[in-house]
Symmetry: C2
Subunit: 205 residues, 2 copies
DNA sequence: TTGAAAACTTAACACTGTTAATTAACTTTA
DNA sequence: TAAAGTTAATTAACAGTGTTAAGTTTTCAA
């Protein structure tokens, strides 16, 4: 049984190699520039070999996406130290904005492109890491309500509102729409001000 | 000078024909399915002819985008009848959500894809209709502040917050991310609840 | 009617994702 | 050890993409 195990391990190594190199590629050159042939060339395999390890290109992107979520969750570990729910929610938002602005290519894949979601549907799998992040958000909102820090409302409604706002900020920024509202050099600052404004506004007086 | 004028008119007619058919195509089959060759086939011209009327594909999409903004602005005409700024802002948001959900392909082009913005940069032109919509938004926010209906803050900050939120809602919905937060059949309803929540929350007690 | 200018097309380039058929490599069995 | 079987990887190809250069047809003025 040692041989079949080694073979399995080798297979996993090539899978990882494909994913690693794909990620490098779209961090370097952007999502639209990633092609199956380019990935193949980097790992010195023929393009069709990738299809032995993944169903199609979307599936490759889906797994890249997963690793993006891991990156994001890492940033949020320190949140547990913040006891005040509002302050915790605020810091979570700040982390979200920073992540989006620092890794726009990852963000694009995770939340803007439809490719990874199509793969997800084809695979019948779950949005595992994404769901995890959303659960964390809902729990913070719930916590804030329980402690009477925000006006009571349906948790999903508020969570959706908050998520949509930070996503809106990041995705509009990434797609160069926000500089239609304020000068380019003020975009990042104003994004944070908008987030601050929301948190301040939703905080019960 | 009659002849040169007629020629110019014919040229404009073909331009319009290209744009009309392009728009039909991506409303029918989606943005990603629109190709230069498909457009050309529909209008019974060779693919390369399109390049006599537009610099590239992005430029075609840019002009389609423009017509999307016109569609959107039409929906907002009735807003002028609403005197209460908060109520007007609310209705503007509702219109925005409805537009996005009703014409997801247009919305995609106008606010999600980067192609039209690239064209805009190449052309050195302005985001004319888009700017107009944003001005309208800022004015309403300003109005609400002047009348003491919301807590004073920088107009750009609040406008950005509101726009980002509705954009976030629509774009996450279009890309099937919101059904990770609530069941698919509840998405639209919850989107509206989130908008309601924001407006209620920002309204000065 | 001829010649220039404008409008349009054909052919081609360098890509894209993906599949079927084929070869190379390794494992197991006789 | 040699043959058979299995797995891994490749080559060739298809049908599509945006775009450019060169050639053809049409239109109009002198």
């Amino acid at each position: 049984m040692g041989i079949v195990a080694r073979k399995e391990k080798q297979k996993q190594e090539i899978r990882s190699l494909i994913l690693e190199e794909s990620m490098k590629l779209f961090v370097e050159e952007g999502f639209s520039k990633v092609s199956v042939r380019k990935i193949a060339e980097r790992i010195q395999y023929s393009p069709t070999t990738l299809y032995l390890y993944f169903k199609d290109k979307n599936e490759i992107l889906f797994y890249c996406c997963e690793s993006g979520f891991k990156k994001m969750l890492e940033q949020n570990i320190a949140l547990a130290l913040i006891s005040d729910p509002i302050e915790r929610l605020h810091q979570m938002g700040v982390n979200y904005l920073n992540f989006g602005l620092e890794y726009p290519e990852y963000y694009d894949l995770m939340f803007i492109q439809e490719a990874p979601m199509s793969a997800l549907i084809d695979m019948g799998a779950g949005w595992s890491s994404g769901d995890q992040a959303l659960e964390a958000l809902k729990m913070i909102v719930q916590d804030a309500m329980d402690k009477g820090l925000v006006v009571p409302a349906k948790v999903e409604t508020v969570a959706m509102a908050v998520w949509s706002m930070v996503h809106g900020l990041v995705s509009l920024a990434i797609r160069q729409r926000l500089d239609k509202l304020v000068p380019a050099e003020d975009v990042e600052k104003t994004m944070h001000e908008s987030l601050d404004w929301l948190l301040k506004t939703m905080k019960k007086a």
